[in-house]
Symmetry: C2
Subunit: 404 residues, 2 copies
């Protein structure tokens, strides 16, 4: 039996994005070489919603919700029926397969909320859960919190393109040996790798054959760069019995301040998720839910422009890191870069803290995404273009200062 001490030890958040201000910095002056580097501070731990402001119409939609009064303040736990109806229609168009607004969709407090509910309804003490490495840090924490057992599945992204994707052999071995749940993000957080159509079809088929519940986090699936294609597991022919897809408007659409997400999939799981939501936080904030009416119906050209702007930043940052010979996968979607740094005179965790202290740059250490990625850092490059470029150059400068 896991004790509460252990349980909460595993939930350590000091290195989690956004919590860096809580870190100990007392030792850094003695470790620092040279002076502080000049330049505008950048927090790459999350997107800058001032540089890329909330999608148009969100404020007005919120106000409409507020003015609706009680009806919008107290929705069903799974979210207001009328909002779910519109969403189900637009998500059906997006994914290519019908979604029932009444049975197969729930509105949650952020995509994080959806992930919590999805794992909370499928993982019990002893459940074996296949988790990709590297992948979103909360996946591992959630599995541990619910008493599950981690079964790591490596993600190939550092070698030849033909090998890219999750290790399907390892996944099949895991499925054969009693793995009950598989959770992963595509586009992958932190690398920006989009699972290929054949990977997704194999996962679907494998999960169906071995009765594995699949939870797929598609948070970044709308920000797809030129020439890339996206495959929705939800629309595959050979479906697992239990499948939950989660999404939300917090990233590409910069609506994180509203804490909105959705999950859609197998109705019995959606129903359980609602039961859990009832004791977790009742519902996504009522007035905020109304903002989902603007989602997937932004003004013409808005999304295209937002993607182009991010692609331009991606390309510049990739250019800078590659010129410095940092291996870096080219993200196919989303706004994360996950470069690998060379060997340094300080350990990489200390380097991350020095980056913040000496160069005003906050990044997330690779170890948040899996053990064994200490030499990588994650940057959310949804930032002011020029500021991001200058900061990337400072990262290279910092690496040169501390290089072994």
């Amino acid at each position: 039996m896991i004790s509460l001490e252990e349980k909460f030890g595993a939930l350590e958040t000091e290195n989690a994005p956004g919590q860096e201000s809580l870190q100990y910095t007392g030792d850094l002056n003695s470790l620092m070489r040279g002076e502080k580097l000049e330049g505008k501070s950048v927090d790459f731990s999350h997107g800058d919603v001032d540089a890329f402001p909330p999608a148009p119409g969100s404020e007005t939609a919120w106000k409409d919700g507020f003015e609706m009064g009680g009806q919008q303040a107290y929705t069903e736990y799974r979210g207001a029926a009328q909002i779910r109806e519109g969403l189900a229609e637009r998500l059906t168009t997006f994914t290519g397969k019908p979604i029932s607004a009444g049975k197969e969709l729930i509105i949650t407090p952020g995509t994080q909320g959806a992930l919590f509910l999805a794992l909370g309804t499928t993982v019990a003490s002893g459940t074996k859960v296949a988790v990709v490495e590297p992948d979103y840090f909360a996946n591992r924490k959630l599995v541990k919190f619910f008493g599950g057992e981690l079964v790591p599945i490596p993600l190939h992204y550092q070698g030849d393109q033909s090998d890219n994707g999750p290790d399907l052999k390892r996944l099949e071995t895991a499925a054969k040996s009693g793995t009950g749940v598989f959770v992963f993000s595509t586009p992958n957080n932190p690398t920006g790798l989009v699972y290929s159509g054949s990977s997704i079809e194999s996962i679907s088929e494998l999960a169906a054959r071995y009765h594995v519940t699949v939870i797929v986090d598609q948070l970044y699936s709308r920000m797809l760069y030129s020439g890339e294609t996206y495959t929705h597991l939800w629309a595959c022919d050979n479906q697992p019995e239990n499948l939950i897809t989660i999404m939300g408007p917090s990233k590409t659409e910069s609506l994180s301040g509203f804490r909105l997400g959705v999950a859609f999939g197998t109705s019995s799981l959606i129903e359980r998720m609602e039961r859990l939501q009832a004791i977790v936080s009742l519902r996504a904030a009522g007035y905020n839910q109304k903002v989902l009416d603007t989602w997937f119906q932004e003004p013409a050209g808005w999304m295209k422009k937002r993607i182009q702007e991010h692609e331009a930043i991606r390309d510049d940052l990739l250019g800078i890191f590659r010129a410095a010979a940092f291996p870096c996968f080219t993200p196919q979607a989303g706004s994360y870069l996950f470069p690998r740094l060379p060997a340094l005179d300080v350990d990489h965790h200390t380097f991350v803290r020095l980056l913040r202290h000496q160069a005003g740059i906050t990044v997330t250490p690779g170890t948040e995404f899996a053990p064994g990625y200490a030499d990588s850092i994650r940057l959310n490059f949804s930032q002011d273009h020029a500021t991001a470029v200058a900061a990337a150059e400072r990262i290279v400068e910092m690496v040169n200062i501390y290089r072994k």
Copy 2:
């Protein structure tokens, strides 16, 4: 080991407030005696924020938050530091004992969110948790969800006033036999009983002596009726090592549509709660947090008026139910009434469904608050005064139709 089936069976929400539209009604026409009763529909399962609108300034405060942009969208998981500082000061004044904004306070997605985090950080598999009967329905559900064992503590409210309050002997017996956590609401939900100063002091002393963690839900503590006094466990002399107090502006202040709550207490528990929040939903919606700046500093006279208006409704409803000889405790605070109904020809659950179907009145069945309260119903009387009075009269009429 509890299975997921059992776990979610215990979280059934069909009778939970706000979920009534999901109930089966197909059998009701055959059970119904006479015609439908005319009158305006009332949903007593929660307060009507159209009748009692959100506290002044909430919309403006939200807009300020939205305009602050990224800084307010991405706060620390425990909530924006500046907002916590103001809150800590005002809650210190309210409770009479200092609260540290940095260490002892967390902003949560509603009071429900605070309760979930508080129990999630203190209850593990096998933890014995003393739960009052009757009390807020989620307490029991949460204990079961986290694998804890319920130790029921009766609340006396139906007899002589001198006996009113939790059964302290039962609580001491529970504490002696290894109960680790005690959770309760004061004012009690559903009865509106305020724990006396001597009850609170005894609980504090007893919890200190037997190392019991105390979680006290004070959601309704601001709406205190004339002549009543309130005692904060947080300010007692003899303190338990581990104490969490939870509150929020969802009820008296009608800010439920923002999903905001707070918890304050033992710093190590607040820290754990933040770790849990990080994987549950990250934070209370950023822009919404700003609305807490208006809390505990409403315009002069606003709160007094709101209390008087509720007291007037309370008195009229008590008059109606007592004239019909339904025993009903006089709520000392909050906006709940918990009358006991006489024996009927239909079981009380069916009566509750008939009330909704035939008389347009939604109430919450007593069994949501503890087994053994099937003959009681809970009404949130934070409603339009005249509508509430007319509905209470219809409840009496309905009882007379189905009386045994």
